[in-house]
Symmetry: C2
Subunit: 276 residues, 2 copies
């Protein structure tokens, strides 16, 4: 692992690191915020998964999460959204290939073998983090924005017992039924739609449910509502009687101005679960 | 004036606007955050001047100021750092020309007539803002980062009575004695150093003083301390017995991770003066 930068930030350290990932077979970069409390021992950790076109950097500089995490003594992990670099496949469209990993393990050419973002976030990066940093593996929570909200929800439901709470900002809720989803799941996983279901938060909610608290915010002026389909997740949550707070925020759009506005709520929500 | 974007943000609106500036003879872009209270009447305003290489956008997305401004009912203005576009002179170096206006009115070729950032921030943009938006001209405060901290300090001392409080993050304190200053003041204002003095915060502090509260934060690990020279401003402030809080923050560098860490303090400091 290589340290790319470390900056003092809200009493802690915002670092950026690079490592060779077995899961993706590529060098991966991630951001990690460690609060001051990490000097004294392992701290709880909140994963933040980013959306289309993002790297590890966008949320790290724009989401305003570190101040709230510092207040709560929680670490933040900002993974990249796909493998990158020479020899890694890409597509001219912004919503496929590099910057658009969709948190799945691709089985189809040209995306396999590098595009294995599920394994990267679920196994590979945790293996590194809990070895190298003062992070408490028993106290993890997960959140994300847009495609990253999809990732947070599907990882939380696909890995029961792993996280204590899950939240999402404007998540893609039903990718098997939207342009943000059908194109990518088809490309990465192939035509057999039965393999898509575990990567659809609404279908997963119906199939396996969720036994940890969920908080979800979406703006009423989100320009991508047709792709997000919050109504499908709401329907599944209600049908399943899952423990959830689903909020539509008046006037907000899909931007980081929306994310940063509600970041304090999300960090507080996770802190309650992480310190329960 | 043209609206480039408006996003809901912490209950208010983060807008980006473009207008033809008489001062610079160029189209200028600026950011404006209006808190919810602006719907009911004029609100106080805090100017944020940015540093080298920045546009209106950097602080708007990275400084984390809107949340605190919303809490205090204060508007934020984010001007650009120079004129831009076709016909506007530039230099290959990052610290001269576009992105490096230094908040002066250039008198030398090729920078005159477009590089008139003092007049732009002091006269031109205020004329527009107080006409077009619900902002209270009698309640203004000013802050900035690095070159923008230099701008905030020199504008506050050069326009007595205009602002109720001034603060700065890692400001260039003594540009007539540093590489960040001598090069630019020479290029924009010419060889006669007597014309430079009103653009040097430490010299201005000695010459005219400051009759409003000052808050200044600089990191002890700032990689540009030799260019900032906080000691010269500290010496002048103490000699002048000015009302000031000068802080050196252990471990912090020059980045926006530093700025965002102390933004709450700065907005609270200005709120106290704006609501006095």
């Amino acid at each position: 692992m290589q340290t790319l930068s470390e900056n003092a930030c809200f009493g802690g350290v915002q670092g950026v690191y690079k490592h060779a990932s077995k899961a993706t077979g590529a060098d991966m970069t991630f951001g990690l915020f460690l609060p001051a409390e990490a000097k004294d021992g392992p701290v709880p950790v909140l994963w933040y998964l980013s959306g289309l076109t993002c790297t590890h950097e966008n949320a790290m500089v724009k989401a305003g999460a570190q101040g709230w995490a510092a207040e709560q003594g929680i670490a933040l992990v900002f993974p990249d959204t796909s493998p990158r670099g020479e020899g890694v496949a890409d597509d001219a469209a912004y919503d496929l290939g590099q910057g658009a990993g969709f948190y799945v393990n691709a089985t189809q050419a040209p995306w396999a073998p590098h595009f294995r973002m599920w394994d990267y976030v679920a196994e590979d990066l945790p293996g590194l983090l809990f070895n190298e940093f003062a992070l408490d593996q028993e106290r993890q929570a997960i959140t994300g924005h847009s495609m990253g909200g999809h990732g947070a929800l599907t990882l939380a439901m696909g890995l029961p017992g792993r996280f204590r709470s899950v939240s999402a900002f404007a998540p893609i809720c039903n990718p098997t039924g939207a342009d943000w989803g059908r194109k990518q799941l088809g490309a990465y996983l192939g035509d057999d739609e039965s393999t898509w279901a575990r990567h659809d938060a609404s279908l997963m909610m119906r199939a396996v449910g969720l036994d940890i608290p969920l908080l979800c915010d979406t703006g009423t002026k989100d320009q991508f509502l047709d792709n997000l389909r919050p109504e499908t997740l709401a329907h599944a949550v209600m049908a399943r009687r899952a423990q959830a707070v689903l909020r539509l925020q008046p006037g907000y759009d899909h931007s980081y101005f929306f994310v940063s506005t509600f970041m304090e709520d999300h960090v507080s929500f996770h802190a309650e679960a992480l310190y329960a």
